[in-house]
Symmetry: C2
Subunit: 429 residues, 2 copies
Amino acid sequence: MAAFQTVKGFRDFFPEDCALRNYIFAQWRKTACRYGFVEYEGAVIEQTALYKKKSGDEITGQLFCFEDKGGREVALRPEVTPTLARMAAARQRDYRKPMKWFQIGSCFRYEEPQRGRTREFVQFNVDILGEAAQAADAELVAFSIDVMRSFGFGPEEFIIRLSDRRLWTQFLDAEKIAEEHRATFLQIIDKMERAPKEATDTKLKAIGLSLQQVQDFIASVDENSAVFAPLRQNLTARGLWNYVKIDPGIVRGLAYYTGTVFEVFDLKHNLRAIAGGGRYDNLVSLLSDGNVDLPACGFAMGDVVLTELINRSPDALENVAAWTREALSNDVYIVVADETKRTEALQTVTALRKAGLRVDFSLTAQKVGKQFQAAEAAKARFAVVIGAEYPLITVKNLINREQQELQAEVLAAKLVEQVSQPVYTALIA
Amino acid sequence: MAAFQTVKGFRDFFPEDCALRNYIFAQWRKTACRYGFVEYEGAVIEQTALYKKKSGDEITGQLFCFEDKGGREVALRPEVTPTLARMAAARQRDYRKPMKWFQIGSCFRYEEPQRGRTREFVQFNVDILGEAAQAADAELVAFSIDVMRSFGFGPEEFIIRLSDRRLWTQFLDAEKIAEEHRATFLQIIDKMERAPKEATDTKLKAIGLSLQQVQDFIASVDENSAVFAPLRQNLTARGLWNYVKIDPGIVRGLAYYTGTVFEVFDLKHNLRAIAGGGRYDNLVSLLSDGNVDLPACGFAMGDVVLTELINRSPDALENVAAWTREALSNDVYIVVADETKRTEALQTVTALRKAGLRVDFSLTAQKVGKQFQAAEAAKARFAVVIGAEYPLITVKNLINREQQELQAEVLAAKLVEQVSQPVYTALIA
């Protein structure tokens, strides 16, 4: 039997990786709070039927689905929007509108793993439910810009590609294209950017259109188009319109969008979309069998492409490094210089932890030199030496190398004073 | 088609529930940091083979397992210890010993849902790898006590039931019980407390023992037994031995424990175990095909029984209420009293958020009274009124009802001064 490996497409987060992941989650939460959103979480497994036909064929083909031991057809969620719509349909009456909700959790898609794509990834979902006005769409676009800025990215690094599904509805109406071809049409547009022109033209001709017609229509759309007026005015007032580029080629793969659609793209490395979303006014009604009608819009950002982008940005990495240093360090390392004082050492450990300090120590008898090495390895700020002189204690500052002698009874209070961030605050705040 | 429901045994966390969940996670993280542990996370799906025979028949019978689209036999993790052992076997050389690692994430078991049991639950895993001395076991028992105390529980509310698998090994050796019966024997002891005496006696007789022999042996074990001396000395020094009760009936269901075993039980409501763990010195070697030999011990605490216990404790609930109030509130609600000043309102929203304040506002034109209602509902500390007098702004403190007039240019700085916890710090620190 060989040693076990992770399943293909799944990830482990060793402490350094986990610190980066927590850093990302903290920036997500911080921006969500600044925007007045509250956190929720949904079930990670749903009935497979929840995804059939509501999200589009592409996503249902990528489902991790199976029959549970009770014969239920279930799936690991590939996205969170259907779960949110289900939850909103069940309990929206209990909440004031608009509901501004966010969520952070794992999603699963059976796709071929590649750069920027894993089979399990963490999604940050941000949604506004119960507000039909495009002011809600603008709030979300602004949010997506500010969350990128929270990682240190500016207008040279990313852009919002903005469109509206209704543009294409108008186009298809004008061209008298039958309803049955419209989902196919949107898929052609969604793939157009990366497909050969001839292939796109052939596919369009099969439903009675041509690439030239589509290109002409795209050329006729710009930021002055009436459909964008509310977002333009709103985002201009916020000083954020310079982050936005109108791009009718953005339609989003998911079937349920009804209005605004947008994606966040990096400008330097040509990675996959960092985030995307839009308005989905019919989904709650669809999933509640028409019982609840709730206009909605939202976007999701994954951790995989974002991590890729952070790893390529020296500025972003500097913030991560500071965070990681804090996450993997301790405030105090207790050095037991005299093993007959182990009881006093354990009392000191207990007292300092009670005061909120992050404290490590050698669990067993070790040479003093080795314990100081461990203190340095644990990136402790202070080494506290418990020796024969106890209750007199030598405290060595491992950053500036200064030394002080303190009585046991004042140790905790003195060290708390000297450690600016006692418990993990820099790490998760 | 009826409205969709959660799959049996799975949970949604609406914002109030999510706040409680985050409160629990924050206490877990805080205690882990105070004890000098670092966070990791493992894959949530593993090869099914990882659990076969290593964890015991009970847990493998409860697996959510299936074949993925690539024909791999995979399972949603029922516990995290095998994942940790796999990770440690792969990369332990990169880390100084002992490795003090913790993790927070979902696990899945197909069991009949009941009070204190769901099919998806969040586990807090705390492990020390690479330290054979029982000082590590003591550090973990102390940790489990302090994490309970962080929720406001004291010695009247919970107890640590402590034992050591080696006691039973000695007993079975003395009684000359064959190796093949020993797993069965431990399962009988594990279930003994809740099983009828006669049934236990019958089962024991089938492997050549009797209930009387077992009861006599249990009566012969107490806190003076040599096997407990290191833990007793260590935890007494920390002032924590009063939380511990020796109980040889605790053996833990999982097959891989080799020494110390313990469980955390509440004393008032007779709920299921809140947490449990012990020493598992052979698991890393077993999962790495003998390539890596690493002594280890750890414990896990689930969120379900703990939540149940919190909900029954007025003291614990008071802490939760303060947290939830903070999680579901905003710092500022912007009231747009003059719709012609919407641009200025959006600028103010942007400026206050940039300063780190949690800001909400009415996305569309609303009567001023309705906006003030929304401000109260959002539990905002301040209502900031943008009206015809702009850049003069009226600020109303919604807690003490005081009112002040501020110029737009100083607003952000003045409000940051007056809001003690600008961004989410109380919530996640």
